[in-house]
């Protein structure tokens, strides 16, 4: 779970960076979903 949290945090930072660059908002659930997909990949 700690590893998942570290991946989730890293993915969150990346998503926020892209989202702010595109000036859109990502829901927390979307970030969590991208993190889960990334972890599984």
């Amino acid at each position: 779970q700690r590893l998942k949290a570290a991946v989730h945090y890293t993915v969150g930072c990346l998503c926020e960076e892209v989202a702010s660059d595109k000036e859109v908002q990502l829901s927390k659930q979307t970030i969590a979903a991208i993190s889960e997909v990334t972890f599984r990949q």
């Binding site: 969150g12 659930q29 970030i31 969590a32 889960e36």
Partner: protein, 116 residues
């Protein structure tokens, strides 16, 4: 120093990204891959939908998969274009009744000695 989140990072994660029990969706899961031809033991574990756990669906939007979605830095792979063309074919056959256009089109080329 190691892979753990630092105290600071943990606070940020906890505030910005962590899904809470109070959230409508408190956990996201991916569907378990099942190869039906390998009936291994854990295939039995069909996941019961549980409240608050959202299982990402790869089929909910299947009707949308008959065209390529826009890409950014990574183009669509050949197998993705193949998937899209199959979804287009399925879409084309969806409303057929009885006769199958694919069969009517391909049948004239069938030579029985090729298959006997």
């Amino acid at each position: 120093k190691d892979w753990f989140l630092s105290e600071e990072e943990f606070k940020l994660w906890n505030r910005l990204y962590r899904l809470r029990d109070s959230d409508e969706i408190k956990e996201i899961t991916l569907p378990q891959v099942q190869f039906l031809s390998f009936q291994n033991e854990d295939n039995g574990l069909t996941q019961e939908p549980t409240t608050g756990i959202h299982q990402l669906s790869l089929s909910e939007w299947r009707l949308w998969q008959d065209h390529p979605f826009p890409t950014y830095q990574v183009d669509h792979s050949d197998r993705c274009h193949h998937f899209i063309s199959i979804m287009q074919m399925i879409e084309g056959m969806r409303h057929e009744e009885g006769e199958c256009s694919y069969e009517l089109e391909i049948k004239p080329y069938l030579q029985m000695e090729d298959v006997s």
